[in-house]
Symmetry: C2
Subunit: 199 residues, 2 copies
DNA sequence: CAAGTTACAAGTTTTGACATCTGTTACCAA
DNA sequence: TTGGTAACAGATGTCAAAACTTGTAACTTG
């Protein structure tokens, strides 16, 4: 009995996301996904070589949605780079906070998947670093930011704000003061600690 | 049959550490600790009110050893505050890296314990922040560091170096470039990103 | 009475038989 | 050939019974 509706990769990903939301990452099975789609689980294996590949694909889709939302901020040349940097750093944090609030189960699921399949996570970090590099290069171009190497500086800024962008700190993002802490780090990064040599 | 050697809290803590090293945090039982000491498990309960209290005590001892080593660096007034800050930040990282290298099992065990009994962890963070505040206050006093509020600035520096001090990032500390990354963050914190207003 | 013991209730973990899941293969239909 | 099925072996997960762990209490000894 062939399928009524043609099964495509996107439908599988959407169903997987729904199963993940309902069952959590540990209890979500390929059989569950297939049942939700009204097919046998072997049909899913025609589109994805393994359960791991399916999970990676679904994680990548989720991270890419986030990346695209951030890209809009990073590329908004109407906003001065210094302010855009601040907005972008806050948006990275706020986007993840929103995911936690909206759907903690799904967020936890993605957290586990992202940690397990590291190429997905490292690719995402590379995407974000690209956006950050663009903002910093814009600042260097208009003279508002000081840097020798926008890419290297982007890495440093990303490392210095790890508490506000790395999934390992998700528990601390519930704290109401977290946004203010990010602002403080942002300010110190901009201005520096060193006393002026000629006051 | 009373004990030959008098059982004291310190002996229990040392035995617990050994059991933790051998069995890991999930499988280490109070009975194991008592057996290693040649007593019944009820004897251990004469010294510690609960298993949780025993675990906290052993974790606290471990963290305090670290704290004391760092305190020597933080209080070394022979070293200029700016340099002392750099040395201290590296020492926080290096101390934990050394623990991982020496005894990964025990480190993982302590990581789990510290995460579970959060008052132990928050107390330790408060200790470290106290040391960092002292360094920054010294810098403010001799004019080498710029700050309105040494305690607030210490918090910001600690947050900005979370990748190099927070246990959640332990896996990344294996990376050989991690020390260089810390140096880059340290440099950016000192100097700032902003272009000088009057060049 | 200080420092330990044995004995035990309540809760938690291990065990081992059973069920489910993953991934593959051989097959079917448009 | 593309898109599906059914049946299967081996790995993994589940569940109830048995074993162990925690924490307490009543007891023993110098």
């Amino acid at each position: 009995m062939p399928a009524r509706t043609p099964l495509d990769a996107n439908a599988i990903l959407a169903a997987t996301e729904e199963i993940l939301r309902r069952h959590g990452p540990d209890k979500a099975t390929v059989v569950d996904v297939a049942r939700a789609l009204g097919v046998s689980h072997a049909a899913v294996y025609k589109h994805f070589p393994s359960k791991q590949a399916l999970r990676e694909a679904v994680t990548r889709r989720w991270l890419d949605r986030n990346r695209d939302a951030l890209a809009v901020i990073a590329a908004d040349s109407a906003v001065p780079p210094v302010q855009r940097l601040r907005t972008w750093l806050h948006a990275v944090l706020a986007g993840k906070q929103a995911k936690i609030r909206e759907d903690p189960e799904l967020f936890a699921a993605y957290g586990i998947l992202a940690a397990a399949h590291s190429s997905v996570a490292t690719d995402h970090v590379a995407d974000l670093l690209g956006q950050l590099t663009a903002i910093i290069a814009d600042g260097a171009a208009d003279g508002s930011l000081r840097t020798d190497d926008a890419e290297a500086t982007a890495r440093v800024v990303f490392n210095a704000t790890a508490k506000f962008n790395h999934l390992a700190h998700a528990a601390e993002w519930q704290n109401p003061g977290i946004g203010a802490e990010l602002d403080e780090v942002y300010s110190l990064l901009l201005e520096g600690l060193h006393a002026p040599t000629s006051p």
